[in-house]
Amino acid sequence: MNEKIKKVSRHINQNEGLIFEKSSPGKRAFELPPLDVPPANLGEALGTNYRREGIEGFPEVSEIEVIRHFTRLSTWNHAIDLGMYPLGSCTMKYNPRVNEFVARLDGIATEHPYQPQELSQGCLKILRLLEKCLLEITGMDAITLQPAAGAQGEMTGLLLIRAYLQKQGNPRKKVLIPDSAHGTNPATAVIAGYEVENIKSESHGQIDVEKLREQVTGDVAALMLTNPSTLGIFEQRIAEIAEILHAKGALLYMDGANMNALTGVARPGDLGVDVMHLNLHKTFSTPHGGGGPGAGPVAMKKILEPFRPVPILVEKEGGRLCLEPVRPDSIGKVKAFSGNFGVLVRALAYILAYGPGVRQATEDAVLNANYIRKQLAGVYELPYSLPSMHEVVFSDAIQKKNGVNTMDIAKRLIDYGFHPYTTAFPLIVPGALMIEPTESESKEECDLFIDAMKAIAQEAATNPELVKTAPHTTRVRRLDEVGAARKPVLRWKPAPLHSEAAD
């Protein structure tokens, strides 16, 4: 074992097949209480047309096998609970356990979205308080908690803009999107019925304001701007950008994916932003859960308020809360019911735990990113030199000379006990290493990460093959992604019976 690898030691973990391969007829892992009414006559109730035979291949296993199966699978994952997870743009911070506890309380998890509002005042108060907190944090005037994730928040935001412009007579044709943006931005603009026009960053990675002035015509509905940008750099001329747009009747959309750099320090509403989404599963600590669920509330200025998705939460006299189903100018619903309520509960639990002290989290996140930047600058190339906020983007230009690229370095990081940073994004940095430590990392963890990155840089210079063939310690090596896409196997199927095989 390489003595430079300080964070991890190798240890065995269990092999485990697919659950379908453990199945044997007659085993079961859950028993229902006995039926306490007369059993329905299936033929009479359904007729043969509506009935199915047993589901072929459906698992039949015992409880201990279920526990071991999923526990074994879990040990094959890296996780925040195990260590640093420096994926840039993803804000992999600690997910407090108390948030999980409160989301599962009787009276929270058990509530039905159609129960009478008199019996839902607790749920509605939670939504109301979260709305107020997020409005205070963003400096905006109105909010919807309905969108299920960031991309749906983006869509909601653009639909609000579209409805607002439509109301004035012309929804316009184009949405401007910087070349550094997340892929969801252009994909969303198309769903909202807009053409995408890319705008190039200037040499410091900022919006080229002079160029923008030319690009903002009467056809432009909005600019979608991520701030800080995906380079982790604050867009310094944002107020001027907003003025340019507003002068031409266009609006400024802010992708709030990087709100972890601003919470408690600056408010998008003060910067001239008209509408933005928040990723509660990033900035507000709700767990990523292997890819979701998230929540993507959209905060906006007063001019967009009439167009919010229904139902609208309103306060009646006596403090009674109520969901109003109809608004004449609403864009409609973007999701059934009232958003990912369980995720909203967790986000509020996070905010309450910090209170105004959430500013400290932002400061620590920025401190960690700058500490890592300082220690690794020169070891890895820094393509943009403006100050970093919550994340820092390097490139693999130095290592490339030895044939080692960002993906190789990322894979080698796994051997050192870290989850890779985000590779090859943003697109404006060739061979990008995008590192976001978040506030949840101690100095000790940051130092171990820095040591690992330095050791890998050294390996790239002296033994590039070692890096290019990494990871060396995982239960599987690099997987054949090309083969997976060429001949997709997307589900398990029972092996053919011998008799069939013989035919």
């Binding site: 019911f337 990322a410 992604e481």
Partner: protein, 448 residues
């Protein structure tokens, strides 16, 4: 603050290493006039104990202690404690989307198992890694049909969940889709003749739900035949997945959009749930969302990766099949664990109990003078009854008996005033059904 792992001395040490005099210096790129100088006006900081107390206080203002007969797209089912124990393992709970396959094999294999279970249940060949919920899954299914057919008219049964139709309309508005409603016949099923009349060679998709919003089970074959005869895709939405333990799957469908909430997910005031899209192999390259696929590593061992990513926004940007990025992975994992626990026999038994209890409940309710069954087609665990007076008034009387009454259909369907959609699952006891019948009888006997 308990979530932050730094001492003041460590912060100073790090600032010194950076060469900054103060933390403020690190924010110097934010123009001075925009920097917040006052503390945010939000409550807190709360200790863990206070956080729990806040939410317990809110929970007490909700419906604890009431017996509910609500379904309408969100169902109460038994959930094993095992499911929560598994999904709260940090390795599942606190991991990201499995882009780095070598250290995400647990999540990837679980997604592969989820895709397999969803394919088996729906009678389809392939299912994706999850959508936000049933309503957006149905909408994405329609957009997929639009891409596959290059047609823009969509016929949606009026008996599809009203909120699902609302979501479809929101998305359709700007994508050039024309959504038209197909009425229901007197027995509550889709009016086949009206459907045939509306079908032309410009229809991208025919969308039905089964059991539909009134609880009525649709017969797929004639609907599919009609859709296919004019080259339209047949899209089936399912809001109550437990039905698939007992009812024939929609094998005739080209795309199935399902809500997975019934598979181990709490009602949670409407979310988070797990949307499912399942379809045929030949359409997979037009599917939205993530897909896990089986492959091998450089030493020949079986492993799993996210695959066919060239459909997705992070690769294709404005040409992607959907803008979805974050999905409902942990909810899909819960469904996978839950269905594995139930297994073949358990799911069937759960489905049969739903059927039996709902049929028992209907027979009890029909004993009450003035209560009538609205639709006579077969049903699963929800059915529609007609009351001699306003459902809302009756429900407010039932609340005094600590009963949350059935869904009042008159709000989304003005033609169905005085009709109530009753839901009874395996969690409803005989005693609760009898108490409900008694309370309803009492309420109807009171003078208006």
């Amino acid at each position: 603050m308990r979530y932050l792992p730094k001492s003041p001395a460590e912060r100073q040490e790090m600032l010194a290493a950076i060469g900054a005099k103060s933390i403020d210096e690190l924010f110097s790129s934010i123009p001075e006039r925009f920097r917040l100088r006052e503390a945010l006006k939000i409550p807190g900081p709360y200790s863990e104990t206070e956080v729990i107390q806040y939410f317990k206080d809110r929970a007490a203002e909700n419906s604890v202690g009431y017996t509910s007969f609500l379904g309408a797209g969100v169902y109460n089912h038994l959930r094993s404690v095992v499911t929560d124990a598994i999904i709260q393992r940090g390795e599942f709970l606190t991991s990201y989307t499995p882009y780095q396959a070598e250290i995400s094999q647990g999540t990837l294999q679980a997604i592969f198992e989820f895709q397999t279970l969803m394919s088996q249940l729906t009678g389809q060949e392939v299912a994706n890694a999850s959508m936000y919920d049933g309503s957006t899954a149905m909408t994405e299914a329609v957009l997929m049909a639009e891409r596959l057919t290059s047609r823009q008219r969509v016929l949606v049964a009026r008996s599809v969940h009203p909120e699902y139709r609302d979501v479809l309309k929101t998305y359709a508005k700007n994508s050039g889709l024309h959504v038209e409603e197909i009425p229901f016949a007197t027995n509550g099923t889709v009016d086949l003749q009206k459907l045939k009349g509306a079908l032309k060679d410009d229809v991208a998709a025919v969308v039905v739900q089964s059991p539909n919003f009134f609880g009525v089970i649709e017969s797929y074959a004639p609907l599919a035949e009609a859709a296919h005869a004019s080259g339209a895709m047949f899209v089936v939405a399912i809001t109550e997945g437990v039905t698939l333990g007992l009812l024939r799957p929609p094998s005739e469908a080209d795309i199935v959009a399902m809500e997975g909430q019934s598979f181990g997910l709490a009602p949670s005031y409407g979310g988070p749930f797990a949307g499912v899209i399942a379809s045929r192999d030949k359409y997979v390259r037009q599917m939205p969302g993530r897909l896990a696929g089986q492959t091998t590593d450089s030493e020949g061992r079986r492993g799993f990766v996210l695959t066919l990513a060239t459909r997705e926004q992070h690769i294709r940007r404005e040409k992607a099949t959907s803008n979805i990025c974050t999905n409902q992975a942990l909810c899909a994992l819960a469904a996978t664990v839950h269905l594995t626990l139930l297994g073949k026999e358990g799911l069937r038994e759960m489905a049969e109990q739903n059927l039996s209890k709902a049929h028992f409940a209907l027979s009890e309710l029909l004993k009450i003078p003035g209560v009538k069954r609205t639709f006579d087609a077969p049903f699963f665990n929800e059915f529609t009854i007609e009351l001699p007076r306003s459902v809302k008034i009756v429900n407010s009387q039932l609340m005094h008996e600590k009963i949350v009454g059935p869904f009042a259909l008159g709000t989304p369907y003005p033609e169905l005033t005085k009709r109530a959609l009753v839901c009874v699952t395996e969690t409803t006891t005989r005693a609760e059904i009898e108490r409900f019948a008694g309370a309803l009888k009492g309420a109807l006997e009171q003078p208006v």
